[in-house]
Protein backbone atom coordinates (compact mmCIF):
# COMPACT_ATOMS: atom_id res chain seq x y z
CA UNK A 1 0.00 0.00 0.00
CA UNK A 2 1.15 3.47 -0.60
CA UNK A 3 0.55 4.43 3.03
CA UNK A 4 2.72 1.57 4.26
CA UNK A 5 6.20 2.87 4.51
CA UNK A 6 8.97 0.38 4.21
CA UNK A 7 11.97 1.55 6.15
CA UNK A 8 14.73 0.50 3.86
CA UNK A 9 17.51 1.57 6.19
CA UNK A 10 16.73 -0.87 8.96
CA UNK A 11 15.98 -3.92 6.87
CA UNK A 12 18.75 -3.44 4.36
CA UNK A 13 16.34 -3.10 1.53
CA UNK A 14 14.59 -6.40 1.90
CA UNK A 15 10.82 -6.40 2.05
CA UNK A 16 10.86 -8.48 5.23
CA UNK A 17 9.72 -6.20 7.98
CA UNK A 18 11.15 -7.95 11.04
CA UNK A 19 14.24 -9.85 10.04
CA UNK A 20 17.30 -7.96 9.09
CA UNK A 21 20.27 -9.31 7.28
CA UNK A 22 22.33 -8.89 10.41
CA UNK A 23 20.15 -11.21 12.38
CA UNK A 24 20.09 -13.82 9.66
CA UNK A 25 23.79 -13.80 9.14
CA UNK A 26 24.50 -13.91 12.85
CA UNK A 27 22.04 -16.74 13.30
CA UNK A 28 23.90 -18.70 10.71
CA UNK A 29 27.30 -17.87 12.13
CA UNK A 30 26.49 -18.52 15.75
CA UNK A 31 24.56 -21.73 15.33
CA UNK A 32 27.21 -23.48 13.31
CA UNK A 33 30.47 -22.55 14.91
CA UNK A 34 33.10 -24.96 13.71
CA UNK A 35 36.00 -25.14 16.10
CA UNK A 36 39.57 -25.78 15.16
CA UNK A 37 40.89 -28.78 17.07
CA UNK A 38 43.49 -26.98 19.11
CA UNK A 39 43.81 -29.10 22.19
CA UNK A 40 47.21 -28.62 23.71
CA UNK A 41 47.20 -30.25 27.15
CA UNK A 42 44.76 -31.44 29.83
CA UNK A 43 42.00 -29.09 28.76
CA UNK A 44 42.02 -30.91 25.44
CA UNK A 45 40.76 -34.01 27.21
CA UNK A 46 37.86 -32.04 28.65
CA UNK A 47 37.21 -30.57 25.23
CA UNK A 48 37.07 -34.07 23.80
CA UNK A 49 34.79 -35.11 26.65
CA UNK A 50 32.51 -32.20 25.87
CA UNK A 51 32.36 -33.36 22.28
CA UNK A 52 31.73 -36.97 23.24
CA UNK A 53 28.55 -38.77 24.11
CA UNK A 54 27.54 -37.26 27.43
CA UNK A 55 28.03 -33.56 26.83
CA UNK A 56 27.43 -33.54 23.15
CA UNK A 57 28.83 -30.57 21.34
CA UNK A 58 27.20 -31.43 18.08
CA UNK A 59 23.78 -30.33 19.29
CA UNK A 60 25.03 -26.75 19.10
CA UNK A 61 26.12 -27.26 15.55
CA UNK A 62 29.80 -27.39 16.37
CA UNK A 63 31.78 -29.88 14.36
CA UNK A 64 35.49 -30.08 15.03
CA UNK A 65 37.45 -29.31 11.91
CA UNK A 66 41.11 -29.96 11.62
CA UNK A 67 41.97 -27.44 8.98
CA UNK A 68 42.17 -23.80 10.00
CA UNK A 69 40.72 -22.68 6.70
CA UNK A 70 37.47 -24.40 7.50
CA UNK A 71 37.19 -23.40 11.12
CA UNK A 72 35.40 -20.46 12.68
CA UNK A 73 36.44 -20.54 16.28
CA UNK A 74 39.75 -21.52 17.76
CA UNK A 75 39.43 -23.04 21.19
CA UNK A 76 42.87 -22.82 22.74
CA UNK A 77 42.71 -25.54 25.32
CA UNK A 78 45.79 -26.02 27.41
CA UNK A 79 49.18 -24.51 28.08
CA UNK A 80 50.78 -22.60 25.27
CA UNK A 81 54.51 -23.03 25.51
CA UNK A 82 56.87 -20.54 23.95
CA UNK A 83 58.06 -23.07 21.45
CA UNK A 84 54.53 -23.53 20.22
CA UNK A 85 53.46 -19.89 20.27
CA UNK A 86 54.70 -19.23 16.76
CA UNK A 87 52.50 -21.99 15.37
CA UNK A 88 49.48 -20.86 17.32
CA UNK A 89 49.75 -17.40 15.82
CA UNK A 90 50.33 -18.86 12.39
CA UNK A 91 47.21 -21.01 12.64
CA UNK A 92 45.20 -18.05 13.86
CA UNK A 93 46.36 -16.06 10.86
CA UNK A 94 45.43 -18.87 8.55
CA UNK A 95 41.87 -18.96 9.77
CA UNK A 96 39.51 -17.07 7.51
CA UNK A 97 37.34 -14.22 8.69
CA UNK A 98 34.99 -14.23 10.58
CA UNK A 99 36.89 -15.89 13.37
CA UNK A 100 36.68 -15.94 17.12
CA UNK A 101 38.90 -17.29 19.87
CA UNK A 102 37.98 -18.97 23.11
CA UNK A 103 40.78 -19.28 25.61
CA UNK A 104 40.00 -22.36 27.70
CA UNK A 105 41.54 -23.10 31.05
CA UNK A 106 43.85 -21.13 33.30
CA UNK A 107 46.96 -21.97 31.32
CA UNK A 108 45.59 -20.35 28.22
CA UNK A 109 44.13 -17.40 30.09
CA UNK A 110 47.15 -16.37 32.12
CA UNK A 111 49.75 -19.08 32.05
CA UNK A 112 48.02 -20.86 34.93
CA UNK A 113 50.01 -22.67 37.55
CA UNK A 114 53.02 -22.80 35.25
CA UNK A 115 54.65 -19.53 36.13
CA UNK A 116 57.89 -20.60 34.42
CA UNK A 117 60.31 -19.68 31.70
CA UNK A 118 58.73 -21.82 29.02
CA UNK A 119 55.07 -20.83 29.26
CA UNK A 120 53.39 -17.94 27.52
CA UNK A 121 51.70 -16.00 30.29
CA UNK A 122 48.34 -15.79 28.69
CA UNK A 123 47.44 -16.55 25.12
CA UNK A 124 46.18 -13.02 24.65
CA UNK A 125 49.75 -11.83 24.44
CA UNK A 126 49.75 -13.35 20.98
CA UNK A 127 46.20 -13.89 19.82
CA UNK A 128 43.16 -11.70 20.37
CA UNK A 129 40.69 -13.54 22.58
CA UNK A 130 36.94 -13.19 22.73
CA UNK A 131 35.94 -15.39 25.65
CA UNK A 132 38.08 -16.39 28.60
CA UNK A 133 37.10 -19.60 30.27
CA UNK A 134 38.51 -20.22 33.74
CA UNK A 135 39.08 -23.60 35.32
CA UNK A 136 41.74 -26.20 35.63
CA UNK A 137 40.45 -28.17 33.80
CA UNK A 138 37.07 -26.53 33.21
CA UNK A 139 34.15 -28.90 33.15
CA UNK A 140 32.65 -29.69 29.77
CA UNK A 141 29.52 -27.82 30.80
CA UNK A 142 31.67 -24.76 31.34
CA UNK A 143 33.00 -25.02 27.82
CA UNK A 144 29.50 -25.32 26.48
CA UNK A 145 28.43 -22.30 28.50
CA UNK A 146 31.37 -20.40 27.06
CA UNK A 147 30.31 -21.38 23.60
CA UNK A 148 26.81 -20.21 24.29
CA UNK A 149 28.17 -16.90 25.54
CA UNK A 150 30.15 -16.64 22.34
CA UNK A 151 26.97 -17.28 20.41
CA UNK A 152 25.29 -14.45 22.30
CA UNK A 153 28.23 -12.22 21.53
CA UNK A 154 28.09 -13.09 17.86
CA UNK A 155 24.41 -12.32 17.66
CA UNK A 156 25.08 -8.84 18.93
CA UNK A 157 27.65 -8.16 16.26
CA UNK A 158 26.91 -6.47 12.99
CA UNK A 159 27.25 -8.50 9.84
CA UNK A 160 29.75 -6.03 8.49
CA UNK A 161 32.97 -7.28 10.08
CA UNK A 162 34.79 -3.98 9.88
CA UNK A 163 32.55 -2.49 12.53
CA UNK A 164 33.50 -5.04 15.15
CA UNK A 165 36.45 -3.95 17.16
CA UNK A 166 38.47 -6.65 18.71
CA UNK A 167 41.29 -6.68 21.08
CA UNK A 168 44.24 -7.13 18.81
CA UNK A 169 47.30 -5.42 20.05
CA UNK A 170 48.94 -5.79 16.71
CA UNK A 171 46.23 -3.75 15.05
CA UNK A 172 46.76 -0.73 17.20
CA UNK A 173 49.52 0.68 15.15
CA UNK A 174 47.62 0.12 11.94
CA UNK A 175 50.00 -2.59 10.81
CA UNK A 176 48.81 -6.11 10.83
CA UNK A 177 51.52 -8.52 11.81
CA UNK A 178 51.72 -11.27 9.33
CA UNK A 179 53.66 -14.46 9.27
CA UNK A 180 54.36 -15.70 5.78
Amino acid sequence: MAQHQVNYASSAGLPIALTSVDKLVNWGRSNSLWPLTYGLACCAIEMMASGASRYDFDRMGTIFRASPRQADVMILAGTLSKKHSEFARRLYDQMTEPKWVISMGSCANTGGMFNTYATVQGVDRIIPVDIYLPGCAPRPETLQYALMMLQKKIRKESADMKKNTKQDLTNQTGKRARLI
Partner: protein, 409 residues
Protein backbone atom coordinates in the same frame (compact mmCIF):
# COMPACT_ATOMS: atom_id res chain seq x y z
CA UNK B 1 57.61 -12.19 -0.52
CA UNK B 2 59.82 -14.78 1.09
CA UNK B 3 61.96 -16.67 -1.39
CA UNK B 4 63.38 -20.02 -0.41
CA UNK B 5 66.87 -21.07 -1.28
CA UNK B 6 69.36 -23.52 0.08
CA UNK B 7 70.57 -21.17 2.78
CA UNK B 8 67.16 -20.07 3.98
CA UNK B 9 64.68 -22.84 3.29
CA UNK B 10 61.07 -22.60 4.31
CA UNK B 11 60.41 -23.80 7.79
CA UNK B 12 58.34 -26.79 6.77
CA UNK B 13 60.04 -27.85 3.58
CA UNK B 14 63.40 -28.43 5.06
CA UNK B 15 64.72 -29.87 1.85
CA UNK B 16 62.78 -28.54 -1.03
CA UNK B 17 64.42 -30.50 -3.76
CA UNK B 18 66.39 -33.57 -3.09
CA UNK B 19 68.27 -35.73 -5.46
CA UNK B 20 66.54 -38.95 -4.61
CA UNK B 21 63.05 -37.48 -4.95
CA UNK B 22 61.90 -38.13 -1.44
CA UNK B 23 59.36 -35.77 0.00
CA UNK B 24 59.69 -34.24 3.41
CA UNK B 25 56.47 -33.50 5.15
CA UNK B 26 55.71 -32.04 8.48
CA UNK B 27 53.23 -33.88 10.68
CA UNK B 28 52.84 -30.70 12.62
CA UNK B 29 52.35 -29.91 16.27
CA UNK B 30 48.68 -29.42 15.68
CA UNK B 31 46.97 -32.37 14.17
CA UNK B 32 43.65 -33.99 14.86
CA UNK B 33 45.19 -37.26 15.87
CA UNK B 34 44.32 -36.31 19.41
CA UNK B 35 47.64 -37.19 20.92
CA UNK B 36 48.94 -33.79 21.73
CA UNK B 37 51.76 -31.78 20.36
CA UNK B 38 53.99 -34.13 18.45
CA UNK B 39 55.80 -32.79 15.46
CA UNK B 40 57.13 -35.49 13.19
CA UNK B 41 59.24 -34.61 10.23
CA UNK B 42 58.78 -37.52 7.88
CA UNK B 43 60.83 -38.18 4.81
CA UNK B 44 58.68 -40.14 2.40
CA UNK B 45 59.48 -42.20 -0.61
CA UNK B 46 56.08 -42.33 -2.21
CA UNK B 47 53.94 -43.53 0.67
CA UNK B 48 56.64 -45.23 2.67
CA UNK B 49 58.49 -43.50 5.41
CA UNK B 50 62.23 -43.48 4.92
CA UNK B 51 63.23 -41.40 7.91
CA UNK B 52 61.31 -40.06 10.84
CA UNK B 53 62.38 -37.36 13.22
CA UNK B 54 60.15 -36.68 16.20
CA UNK B 55 60.33 -33.12 17.44
CA UNK B 56 59.04 -32.66 20.95
CA UNK B 57 59.07 -29.90 23.50
CA UNK B 58 55.91 -28.11 22.46
CA UNK B 59 54.35 -28.68 25.85
CA UNK B 60 57.40 -27.99 27.97
CA UNK B 61 56.26 -26.19 31.08
CA UNK B 62 59.30 -26.37 33.29
CA UNK B 63 57.78 -28.77 35.81
CA UNK B 64 61.13 -30.06 37.03
CA UNK B 65 62.32 -26.55 37.66
CA UNK B 66 59.11 -25.76 39.50
CA UNK B 67 59.87 -28.64 41.87
CA UNK B 68 63.11 -26.95 42.86
CA UNK B 69 61.17 -23.87 43.88
CA UNK B 70 58.23 -25.35 45.76
CA UNK B 71 57.80 -27.43 48.85
CA UNK B 72 57.03 -31.09 48.44
CA UNK B 73 53.36 -30.74 49.29
CA UNK B 74 52.92 -27.71 47.08
CA UNK B 75 54.29 -29.62 44.13
CA UNK B 76 51.79 -32.46 44.34
CA UNK B 77 49.04 -30.84 42.22
CA UNK B 78 51.62 -30.07 39.55
CA UNK B 79 52.32 -33.75 39.12
CA UNK B 80 48.67 -34.15 38.09
CA UNK B 81 49.42 -32.44 34.85
CA UNK B 82 52.11 -34.85 33.73
CA UNK B 83 50.03 -37.74 32.51
CA UNK B 84 46.78 -35.87 32.55
CA UNK B 85 44.69 -38.82 31.51
CA UNK B 86 45.27 -40.82 34.67
CA UNK B 87 46.25 -38.14 37.12
CA UNK B 88 46.22 -40.13 40.33
CA UNK B 89 48.98 -42.41 39.07
CA UNK B 90 51.38 -39.49 38.80
CA UNK B 91 50.36 -38.13 42.17
CA UNK B 92 50.84 -41.54 43.65
CA UNK B 93 54.27 -42.11 42.05
CA UNK B 94 55.47 -38.80 43.46
CA UNK B 95 53.95 -39.41 46.89
CA UNK B 96 55.49 -42.86 47.01
CA UNK B 97 58.92 -41.49 46.15
CA UNK B 98 58.70 -38.90 48.91
CA UNK B 99 57.35 -41.47 51.35
CA UNK B 100 60.26 -43.79 50.60
CA UNK B 101 62.63 -40.90 51.13
CA UNK B 102 61.08 -40.00 54.45
CA UNK B 103 60.55 -43.60 55.48
CA UNK B 104 56.85 -43.57 56.29
CA UNK B 105 54.22 -45.99 55.16
CA UNK B 106 50.62 -45.09 54.55
CA UNK B 107 48.03 -46.68 56.84
CA UNK B 108 45.95 -49.62 55.72
CA UNK B 109 42.79 -47.80 54.77
CA UNK B 110 44.76 -45.28 52.76
CA UNK B 111 46.47 -48.13 50.97
CA UNK B 112 43.15 -49.72 50.06
CA UNK B 113 41.77 -46.43 48.78
CA UNK B 114 44.95 -45.65 46.88
CA UNK B 115 45.08 -49.01 45.18
CA UNK B 116 41.44 -48.69 44.17
CA UNK B 117 42.09 -45.24 42.76
CA UNK B 118 45.16 -46.46 40.90
CA UNK B 119 43.27 -49.28 39.26
CA UNK B 120 40.36 -47.00 38.47
CA UNK B 121 42.81 -44.64 36.82
CA UNK B 122 44.24 -47.52 34.87
CA UNK B 123 40.78 -48.30 33.53
CA UNK B 124 40.23 -44.63 32.69
CA UNK B 125 43.53 -44.44 30.85
CA UNK B 126 42.98 -47.63 28.90
CA UNK B 127 39.49 -46.52 27.91
CA UNK B 128 41.00 -43.29 26.63
CA UNK B 129 43.62 -45.31 24.78
CA UNK B 130 41.07 -47.41 22.97
CA UNK B 131 38.93 -44.37 22.26
CA UNK B 132 41.66 -42.32 20.63
CA UNK B 133 43.37 -45.23 18.97
CA UNK B 134 40.14 -46.36 17.37
CA UNK B 135 39.32 -42.78 16.39
CA UNK B 136 42.66 -42.41 14.65
CA UNK B 137 42.39 -45.71 12.86
CA UNK B 138 38.86 -44.84 11.80
CA UNK B 139 36.44 -46.61 14.11
CA UNK B 140 34.78 -43.47 15.37
CA UNK B 141 31.90 -45.03 17.27
CA UNK B 142 34.28 -46.74 19.69
CA UNK B 143 35.38 -43.25 20.71
CA UNK B 144 31.87 -42.36 21.78
CA UNK B 145 31.28 -45.66 23.58
CA UNK B 146 34.55 -45.51 25.47
CA UNK B 147 33.95 -41.92 26.51
CA UNK B 148 30.56 -42.95 27.85
CA UNK B 149 32.23 -45.47 30.15
CA UNK B 150 34.86 -42.95 30.99
CA UNK B 151 32.18 -40.51 32.12
CA UNK B 152 31.02 -43.03 34.73
CA UNK B 153 34.55 -43.39 35.99
CA UNK B 154 35.07 -39.65 36.07
CA UNK B 155 31.85 -39.30 38.04
CA UNK B 156 33.30 -41.72 40.58
CA UNK B 157 36.51 -39.70 40.79
CA UNK B 158 34.50 -36.54 41.12
CA UNK B 159 32.49 -38.02 43.97
CA UNK B 160 35.68 -38.86 45.72
CA UNK B 161 37.97 -35.91 45.26
CA UNK B 162 35.95 -33.24 43.51
CA UNK B 163 37.80 -33.09 40.21
CA UNK B 164 37.21 -34.97 37.00
CA UNK B 165 40.56 -34.72 35.41
CA UNK B 166 43.30 -33.38 37.62
CA UNK B 167 42.64 -35.27 40.79
CA UNK B 168 45.37 -34.69 43.42
CA UNK B 169 43.57 -37.46 45.25
CA UNK B 170 46.65 -38.73 47.02
CA UNK B 171 48.77 -36.96 49.61
CA UNK B 172 52.23 -37.69 50.89
CA UNK B 173 51.49 -40.08 53.70
CA UNK B 174 48.05 -41.26 52.71
CA UNK B 175 44.86 -39.87 51.29
CA UNK B 176 43.11 -36.70 52.38
CA UNK B 177 39.53 -37.90 52.19
CA UNK B 178 37.56 -40.95 53.11
CA UNK B 179 35.27 -42.62 50.61
CA UNK B 180 31.82 -41.04 50.40
CA UNK B 181 28.71 -43.07 51.13
CA UNK B 182 27.70 -45.38 48.34
CA UNK B 183 31.00 -45.09 46.49
CA UNK B 184 31.83 -48.75 46.88
CA UNK B 185 28.48 -49.85 45.46
CA UNK B 186 28.93 -47.45 42.57
CA UNK B 187 32.39 -48.71 41.76
CA UNK B 188 31.19 -52.31 41.90
CA UNK B 189 28.44 -51.45 39.45
CA UNK B 190 31.00 -49.64 37.30
CA UNK B 191 33.27 -52.69 37.24
CA UNK B 192 30.40 -54.86 36.08
CA UNK B 193 29.48 -52.37 33.40
CA UNK B 194 33.04 -52.05 32.13
CA UNK B 195 33.51 -55.80 31.98
CA UNK B 196 30.27 -56.14 30.06
CA UNK B 197 31.15 -53.34 27.67
CA UNK B 198 34.70 -54.53 27.05
CA UNK B 199 33.38 -57.91 26.05
CA UNK B 200 30.26 -56.90 24.22
CA UNK B 201 31.17 -53.58 22.65
CA UNK B 202 34.86 -52.95 22.21
CA UNK B 203 35.97 -56.47 21.61
CA UNK B 204 32.87 -57.36 19.68
CA UNK B 205 33.38 -54.37 17.41
CA UNK B 206 37.11 -54.56 16.99
CA UNK B 207 38.75 -57.87 17.77
CA UNK B 208 37.46 -59.93 14.87
CA UNK B 209 36.96 -56.94 12.64
CA UNK B 210 38.64 -57.48 9.31
CA UNK B 211 39.54 -53.84 8.82
CA UNK B 212 40.87 -53.47 12.33
CA UNK B 213 43.01 -56.55 11.91
CA UNK B 214 44.35 -55.41 8.58
CA UNK B 215 45.24 -52.02 10.01
CA UNK B 216 46.84 -53.33 13.15
CA UNK B 217 48.47 -56.65 12.46
CA UNK B 218 52.20 -56.51 11.78
CA UNK B 219 52.24 -52.76 12.28
CA UNK B 220 54.70 -51.35 14.74
CA UNK B 221 56.60 -54.56 15.34
CA UNK B 222 59.30 -54.25 17.92
CA UNK B 223 61.38 -57.14 19.21
CA UNK B 224 61.95 -57.75 22.89
CA UNK B 225 65.61 -56.70 22.88
CA UNK B 226 64.88 -53.54 20.99
CA UNK B 227 62.08 -52.72 23.36
CA UNK B 228 64.36 -53.14 26.37
CA UNK B 229 67.11 -51.23 24.69
CA UNK B 230 64.91 -48.27 23.81
CA UNK B 231 63.61 -48.01 27.34
CA UNK B 232 60.10 -49.25 26.64
CA UNK B 233 58.16 -50.26 29.67
CA UNK B 234 54.66 -51.24 30.55
CA UNK B 235 52.32 -52.40 27.79
CA UNK B 236 54.93 -51.68 25.10
CA UNK B 237 57.31 -54.11 26.76
CA UNK B 238 54.70 -56.71 27.61
CA UNK B 239 53.39 -56.47 24.07
CA UNK B 240 56.78 -57.70 22.89
CA UNK B 241 56.86 -60.76 25.05
CA UNK B 242 58.87 -59.54 28.04
CA UNK B 243 56.91 -60.46 31.13
CA UNK B 244 57.76 -57.58 33.41
CA UNK B 245 55.22 -55.72 35.48
CA UNK B 246 56.39 -53.59 38.36
CA UNK B 247 53.25 -54.42 40.30
CA UNK B 248 54.39 -58.04 40.42
CA UNK B 249 58.15 -57.74 40.39
CA UNK B 250 58.68 -54.77 42.69
CA UNK B 251 55.33 -54.59 44.44
CA UNK B 252 54.20 -51.51 46.22
CA UNK B 253 50.91 -50.69 47.96
CA UNK B 254 48.65 -53.74 48.22
CA UNK B 255 49.61 -55.43 44.97
CA UNK B 256 51.42 -58.24 46.73
CA UNK B 257 48.15 -59.24 48.39
CA UNK B 258 45.95 -59.08 45.33
CA UNK B 259 45.38 -61.88 42.91
CA UNK B 260 45.82 -60.81 39.31
CA UNK B 261 47.50 -61.96 36.12
CA UNK B 262 49.84 -60.13 33.82
CA UNK B 263 48.79 -60.30 30.18
CA UNK B 264 51.72 -60.71 27.83
CA UNK B 265 51.59 -60.74 24.07
CA UNK B 266 54.10 -62.60 21.92
CA UNK B 267 52.88 -60.93 18.76
CA UNK B 268 55.03 -57.78 19.17
CA UNK B 269 52.69 -55.75 16.98
CA UNK B 270 49.87 -53.28 17.51
CA UNK B 271 47.17 -55.93 17.47
CA UNK B 272 48.84 -57.76 20.33
CA UNK B 273 49.07 -54.53 22.30
CA UNK B 274 45.42 -53.83 21.70
CA UNK B 275 44.45 -57.25 23.08
CA UNK B 276 46.78 -56.61 26.00
CA UNK B 277 45.09 -53.35 26.90
CA UNK B 278 41.66 -54.95 26.83
CA UNK B 279 42.86 -57.76 29.06
CA UNK B 280 44.46 -55.29 31.44
CA UNK B 281 41.12 -53.54 31.84
CA UNK B 282 39.63 -56.84 32.90
CA UNK B 283 42.45 -57.49 35.36
CA UNK B 284 41.98 -54.03 36.83
CA UNK B 285 38.30 -54.59 37.45
CA UNK B 286 39.18 -57.93 39.00
CA UNK B 287 41.53 -56.17 41.38
CA UNK B 288 38.98 -53.52 42.28
CA UNK B 289 36.45 -56.21 43.14
CA UNK B 290 38.97 -57.80 45.51
CA UNK B 291 39.67 -54.48 47.16
CA UNK B 292 36.07 -53.55 47.87
CA UNK B 293 35.58 -55.97 50.82
CA UNK B 294 39.03 -55.08 52.15
CA UNK B 295 37.87 -51.57 52.90
CA UNK B 296 35.48 -52.57 55.66
CA UNK B 297 38.18 -54.36 57.62
CA UNK B 298 40.44 -51.36 57.97
CA UNK B 299 40.93 -48.86 60.77
CA UNK B 300 39.72 -45.37 59.88
CA UNK B 301 43.18 -43.81 59.69
CA UNK B 302 43.87 -41.97 56.46
CA UNK B 303 47.24 -40.30 56.88
CA UNK B 304 50.43 -41.73 58.30
CA UNK B 305 51.48 -40.69 61.76
CA UNK B 306 54.82 -38.95 61.30
CA UNK B 307 54.50 -35.54 62.91
CA UNK B 308 57.87 -34.40 61.67
CA UNK B 309 56.83 -34.65 58.05
CA UNK B 310 53.08 -35.01 57.84
CA UNK B 311 50.38 -32.84 59.38
CA UNK B 312 47.85 -34.27 61.79
CA UNK B 313 44.20 -34.86 60.96
CA UNK B 314 41.90 -31.87 60.68
CA UNK B 315 40.13 -32.67 63.95
CA UNK B 316 43.41 -32.63 65.81
CA UNK B 317 44.58 -29.47 64.13
CA UNK B 318 41.40 -27.67 65.09
CA UNK B 319 41.53 -28.80 68.72
CA UNK B 320 45.14 -29.47 69.73
CA UNK B 321 47.64 -26.65 69.93
CA UNK B 322 50.79 -28.52 68.98
CA UNK B 323 49.11 -30.09 65.99
CA UNK B 324 48.17 -26.62 64.79
CA UNK B 325 51.69 -25.31 65.29
CA UNK B 326 53.26 -28.19 63.47
CA UNK B 327 50.75 -27.92 60.65
CA UNK B 328 51.58 -24.24 60.32
CA UNK B 329 55.29 -24.94 60.10
CA UNK B 330 54.79 -27.74 57.60
CA UNK B 331 52.60 -25.62 55.38
CA UNK B 332 54.66 -22.46 55.41
CA UNK B 333 58.19 -23.85 55.56
CA UNK B 334 57.54 -27.28 54.18
CA UNK B 335 58.68 -30.68 55.34
CA UNK B 336 62.40 -31.38 55.36
CA UNK B 337 63.15 -34.94 54.26
CA UNK B 338 66.50 -36.52 55.04
CA UNK B 339 69.44 -35.93 52.76
CA UNK B 340 69.73 -38.48 50.04
CA UNK B 341 68.29 -39.61 46.76
CA UNK B 342 65.60 -42.02 45.79
CA UNK B 343 64.27 -43.48 42.58
CA UNK B 344 60.95 -45.23 42.84
CA UNK B 345 59.40 -46.90 39.80
CA UNK B 346 55.65 -47.47 39.62
CA UNK B 347 53.51 -49.05 36.97
CA UNK B 348 51.44 -46.27 35.49
CA UNK B 349 48.96 -47.15 32.74
CA UNK B 350 51.48 -45.94 30.17
CA UNK B 351 54.55 -47.75 31.50
CA UNK B 352 57.13 -47.24 34.19
CA UNK B 353 56.63 -43.89 35.79
CA UNK B 354 59.37 -43.10 38.22
CA UNK B 355 60.45 -40.10 40.20
CA UNK B 356 64.06 -39.45 41.05
CA UNK B 357 64.24 -37.06 43.96
CA UNK B 358 67.50 -35.73 45.29
CA UNK B 359 67.13 -34.00 48.59
CA UNK B 360 69.63 -31.91 50.48
CA UNK B 361 67.55 -31.69 53.62
CA UNK B 362 65.89 -28.53 52.38
CA UNK B 363 62.13 -28.08 52.13
CA UNK B 364 62.50 -27.74 48.37
CA UNK B 365 63.76 -30.69 46.37
CA UNK B 366 67.28 -30.17 45.07
CA UNK B 367 66.51 -32.08 41.90
CA UNK B 368 63.43 -33.84 40.75
CA UNK B 369 63.50 -35.89 37.61
CA UNK B 370 60.41 -37.52 36.31
CA UNK B 371 61.03 -40.69 34.34
CA UNK B 372 58.20 -40.53 31.89
CA UNK B 373 57.40 -43.66 29.88
CA UNK B 374 56.09 -41.67 26.95
CA UNK B 375 59.43 -39.86 26.54
CA UNK B 376 61.20 -43.06 25.68
CA UNK B 377 58.34 -44.33 23.58
CA UNK B 378 58.60 -41.17 21.49
CA UNK B 379 62.30 -41.82 21.00
CA UNK B 380 61.36 -45.27 19.84
CA UNK B 381 59.29 -43.72 17.06
CA UNK B 382 62.49 -42.82 15.24
CA UNK B 383 63.12 -46.45 14.58
CA UNK B 384 59.61 -47.80 14.55
CA UNK B 385 58.25 -45.58 11.81
CA UNK B 386 60.89 -46.36 9.22
CA UNK B 387 59.53 -48.56 6.45
CA UNK B 388 55.87 -48.07 7.29
CA UNK B 389 53.21 -46.37 5.25
CA UNK B 390 51.70 -43.03 6.12
CA UNK B 391 48.50 -44.63 7.35
CA UNK B 392 50.52 -46.83 9.68
CA UNK B 393 52.23 -43.80 11.17
CA UNK B 394 48.96 -42.79 12.78
CA UNK B 395 48.34 -46.31 14.05
CA UNK B 396 51.80 -46.51 15.56
CA UNK B 397 51.52 -43.17 17.30
CA UNK B 398 48.25 -44.37 18.75
CA UNK B 399 49.54 -47.71 19.88
CA UNK B 400 52.52 -46.27 21.72
CA UNK B 401 50.00 -44.40 23.85
CA UNK B 402 52.05 -41.26 24.29
CA UNK B 403 50.76 -38.33 26.26
CA UNK B 404 52.61 -35.11 25.87
CA UNK B 405 52.36 -33.80 29.37
CA UNK B 406 54.81 -36.55 30.30
CA UNK B 407 57.07 -36.30 27.30
CA UNK B 408 57.78 -32.63 27.62
CA UNK B 409 57.19 -32.12 31.33
Amino acid sequence: MQVANKLTPFFENLNFERDDNTMVINFGPQHPSAHGQLRLVLELDGEQVVKAYPDIGYLHRGIEKMAENMTYNEFLPTTDRLDYIASTSNNYAYALAVEKLIGVEAPRRAQVIRTMLLELNRVISHLFFIATHALDVGAMSVFLYAFREREFAMDLMEDYCGARLTHSAVRIGGVPLDLPAGWLENIAAFCDKVDYEVEHTYEALLTENRIWKMRLEDVGVISAEDALNWGCTGPMLRGSGVKYDIRKEEPYELYSELDFDIPVSERCDSYGRYRLYMEEIRQSTRMIRQLIPMYAETEPQLMAHAPQYISATKEEIMTQNYALMQHFVLVTQGMRPPKGEVYVPTESPKGELGFYIKSEGEPYAYRLKCRAPSFFHTGLLQELLVGTYIADVVTIIGTTNIVFGEVDR
